[in-house]
């Protein structure tokens, strides 16, 4: 990271330290139920097994869901790109499906396909496929007219246009979709656990919401959730970036 890169993090870093210090002082002075940051850190260190076990399960659901979503989304987007009647019939329904809130969909899907790890993975996939299918469809369809004309000039087959033009053309939007989908995948995995799971970060949070017994762990889980979400987003973004390096638009 360049000096300019580091410098842009100085102000938010200092602000965060200031806020944590204020929180620490407020928690110690008021003796409220809200734990102090140092208590949360202590819990994260001493109770790491609890956090790791639950985070691993939620991460498994998120990553599994994301992978399945990628496969389904790109297959669907390819269908949409290749067959306009299918796109015209189904794409509006895909868009409309996203007007239903995440928290409303998860329990309904859990009722339909049942509880258990695999069904939670599938529900997570359903929750995060939307940004992928939209971005991939957009990328596959929106080809520069000159590029299209170039292929037409040489009598390119439909398969050539798809594999040599449309697919590489959509990689820029894939990256944007992947970033959004990774975020959705983790949120999705937590929300799915609200509907009957006994283990996982989401399951712990919902249990504590019903019967609050361990506020320090609740805050610890929130911190772990933030870290896991960040990790998933950054790692998936990094992997895609590495794989599709040459296909991406120039850095600005």
């Amino acid at each position: 990271m360049s000096f300019t890169g580091i410098r842009q993090w100085i102000s938010p870093g200092l602000a965060l330290i200031g806020l944590l210090a204020l929180w620490e002082v407020a928690a110690r002075v008021t003796h409220a139920d809200t734990p102090a940051p140092t208590q949360i850190l202590q819990s994260l260190a001493s109770d790491s097994r609890f956090y790791l076990e639950n985070a691993a399960l939620t991460m498994l659901e998120a990553v599994g869901g994301l992978v399945i979503a990628i496969v389904i989304a790109y297959s669907t987007a390819s269908l949409f790109a290749l067959w306009a009647p299918v796109r015209r019939a189904l794409f509006p329904l895909v868009i409309a499906s996203q007007t239903i809130p995440l928290v409303a969909v998860a329990p309904v899907l859990a009722t339909i396909i049942g509880d258990g790890l695999f069904s939670r993975i599938f529900i997570t996939a359903w929750l995060c496929w939307f940004p992928l299918v939209v971005s991939a469809t957009h990328g596959l369809l929106h080809v520069e007219p000159e590029h299209h004309a170039l292929f037409a000039t040489y009598g390119a087959s439909r398969s050539d246009v798809f594999w040599k033009l449309r697919v590489p053309n959509c990689t820029g939007t894939v990256l944007a979709g992947m970033r959004a989908a990774a975020g959705f995948a983790f949120i999705g995995a937590i929300v799915v656990e609200y509907s009957g799971a006994t283990k996982g970060l989401g399951a712990f949070l919902i249990a504590q919401a019903r019967n609050p017994t361990d506020p320090v762990r609740v805050f610890g889980v929130v911190v772990v959730c933030a870290l896991c979400g960040l990790l998933l987003t950054q790692v998936s973004h990094g992997i895609v970036r590495q794989l599709l390096h040459r296909y991406l638009p120039a850095e600005r």
Partner: protein, 252 residues
């Protein structure tokens, strides 16, 4: 003039605008271009120069009249160099140049043909570069190499020097002049620049403002290839003056 490769007879074309009104662009264009001839189309902005190339490329049929172009679009024996270069950003220069051969399923001597085209367009040393790593002049030369790799019988060039600075435009013009001379292609190019039109072509076709007609045809008698010295020659100056007069006469 030798046998016509391109013949436009009474060609007119209009673009549909919002509200159902149509804007006439071309009106009664008659033009013949012989085998191996280089013709420049010069005219004010919006005079339908690129539309004429689109019609020759067979992107759409003319509203009126007849367009004959042999060999036609999708035959693999026509090539177009686009104003914005239309290089695929995820392919290296070499891979871009190879693309027409891939699409036409030409595998015999593919490497040699690509090498030769890169060499002729003076971009051999940039074969492994991605388009985003090239300057405007190099990108244009790379797109010329791509057009030449199939030894096209018809070569269409859209605003070859549109976005280039004066020095780069002149060097590209000299390279293009040699290429057009050594190639057997019948070439039509559109440009705003009168000097470049005169330097490169056998005939300069001056187009009027919309609805566009042919305002005049100026023959450049000096045989090709022309050297840099031609730019200071009395016959060059005279041709440039004639083209400018023709452009002005039709505007007034």
């Amino acid at each position: 003039m030798s046998a016509s490769r391109i013949r436009l007879t009474g060609v007119g074309h209009s673009y549909a605008a919002n509200g159902g009104l149509s804007t006439p662009v071309l009106d009664g264009i008659d033009l013949e271009v012989g085998q191996g001839e280089v013709v420049a189309l010069v005219g004010p902005s919006g005079s339908g120069k690129s539309t004429l190339l689109d019609l020759l490329e067979g992107r759409f049929p003319p509203g009126r009249g007849e367009v004959y172009c042999s060999p036609g679009a999708a035959s693999g024996r026509m090539a177009r160099v686009y104003q914005d270069r239309a290089l695929l950003p995820w392919r290296t220069v070499r891979e871009n140049v190879e693309l027409p051969l891939e699409l036409l399923r030409i595998s015999d001597g593919r490497k040699e043909r690509v090498d030769l085209a890169l060499e002729r367009a003076a971009v051999a040393e940039f074969g492994d570069f991605l388009p985003r790593q090239l300057s405007g002049g190099l990108a244009y030369r790379a797109s010329i190499a791509r057009a030449l790799v199939t030894n096209p019988e018809i070569l269409l060039l859209d605003e070859p020097f549109g976005s280039l600075d004066e020095v780069t435009a002149e060097s590209v013009m000299l390279v293009l002049g040699d290429l057009l001379h050594t190639s057997t292609s019948t070439s039509v190019f559109v440009t705003h620049n009168v000097e470049q039109a005169v330097f490169l072509s056998d005939r300069v076709v001056v187009l009027s403002p919309r609805p566009t007609k042919i305002a005049g045809i100026i023959e450049v008698k000096r045989p090709r290839p022309r050297r840099r010295e031609f730019l200071g020659d009395a016959s060059f100056v005279e041709c440039v003056r004639d083209v400018r007069q023709c452009l002005r006469r039709d505007r007034s």
